[in-house]
């Protein structure tokens, strides 16, 4: 299946008639309107790419999104690059990415500079005093939504898999709280330990059956 989509993406024919400006404009519109964070952006991309322009099927969209989960950096930017590549190769990826980022990055910078000018006004300070704890709350929720699918997939690997996952979670939290070990070392260490555990656990389960 992946090979199939690869073959298609190497000969970009979807949306082949579309002019570069039109493509750029569609992504600009997504980048400029998607207020409400990543899920709003993803929703708009899916609506435009799958439903309105038929650049890819629902299936391909889901598979691309899955692959983007393990790619470095902002997943949505990877997804946009993949879709753009599929429409018009390297030029399509570049146009799509810059189209999406131009308005959203400009608005982000604009809001920041406005904010930097008024941040010491008393009313802004007290508004922010309310916003900070709310951001922390939303962040805790985000951490929870990151952990839940990982623990679920660990549970599918049996009791040992769940045990390893819980230990890694507690260990990395404790190390970050109590030591000054570089964060990168904690992340890579947890990844390596989990890879070794998985290598040990999965073949054994197959043997049992």
């Amino acid at each position: 299946m992946v090979e199939d989509s690869q073959a298609r993406s190497e000969q970009p024919t979807v949306g082949g008639r579309m002019s570069p400006w039109r493509l750029f404009w569609i992504w600009m519109a997504i980048g400029g309107q998607s207020f409400g964070g990543g899920s709003a952006t993803l929703y708009l991309i899916r609506r435009e790419a799958v439903e309105r322009h038929g650049w890819l099927t629902d299936d391909d969209f889901t598979r691309y999104w899955g692959i983007c989960q393990i790619a470095p950096g902002i997943n949505i930017l990877g997804l946009v690059a993949l879709i753009g590549w599929r429409i018009a190769g390297a030029a399509g990826a570049l146009l799509s990415l810059s189209g999406l980022l131009l308005p959203s990055a400009a608005i982000t910078v604009g809001l920041t500079s406005i904010y930097a000018g008024i941040r010491d006004e008393p009313i802004v300070r007290s508004a922010l005093a309310g916003v900070v704890p709310a951001t922390v709350g939303l962040g805790f929720l985000l951490a929870f939504t990151m952990v839940r699918p990982l623990l679920n997939s660990a549970r599918r690997d049996g009791r040992a898999g769940t045990f390893v996952a819980v230990v890694l979670l507690l260990m990395s939290t404790t190390l970050a709280a109590l030591t000054r070990i570089p964060v990168l070392a904690i992340l890579w260490g947890a990844g390596a330990l989990s890879a070794m555990a998985q290598w040990q656990l999965v073949p054994r389960q197959r043997l049992k059956r």
């Binding site: 400029g32 207020f35 990055a105 982000t108 951001t135 805790f140 890694l168 990168l184 999965v202």
Partner: protein, 170 residues
Amino acid sequence: MSHHLELFWIMLRAALFSTTGTGNLPIVHQDLLSRGWATDRQFAESLAIGQISPGPTGLWVISLGYFVGGLRGAALTLVAITLPPLLVLVLVHGLYRRWGHRPVIQGFVRGLGLAVAGVFVIVLSGIMNTAGWNPANLMIAVGGIVLGAMRRVPVLVVLVLAAIVGIALF
């Protein structure tokens, strides 16, 4: 100038070794705070601005880049966070097709995700330490969790409500 190049390198490295828009937060937090280039308050402000502005939430670091290095800092940060996701093209056209189903790769990705979440919680607690764990702040944080968990309320509305509560209380 070297200050800006170093900022670019910090942002690039953090994006390379993390996934999702906020996975880079623990690394960036450690790198910038240890140099004294940013404060916990600026992290909280950037995260809030990233939530309010359109596009991926991950653009919050552009706001942080602006605080640290002005317009040039923001532009360099934008370039730094755009490059790593392009590796997904390599992943799709080569590595993932061959290796993605291997338990070792899946295990690595899982461990990485768990550790990111674990460190993330500690960073958030640090921001809360700066703000203070008093009843009012706790109430607002719990309110944010509840409204956010309902999924129906846009993040923008949650933050505006929090700002109004802040103006009323503080």
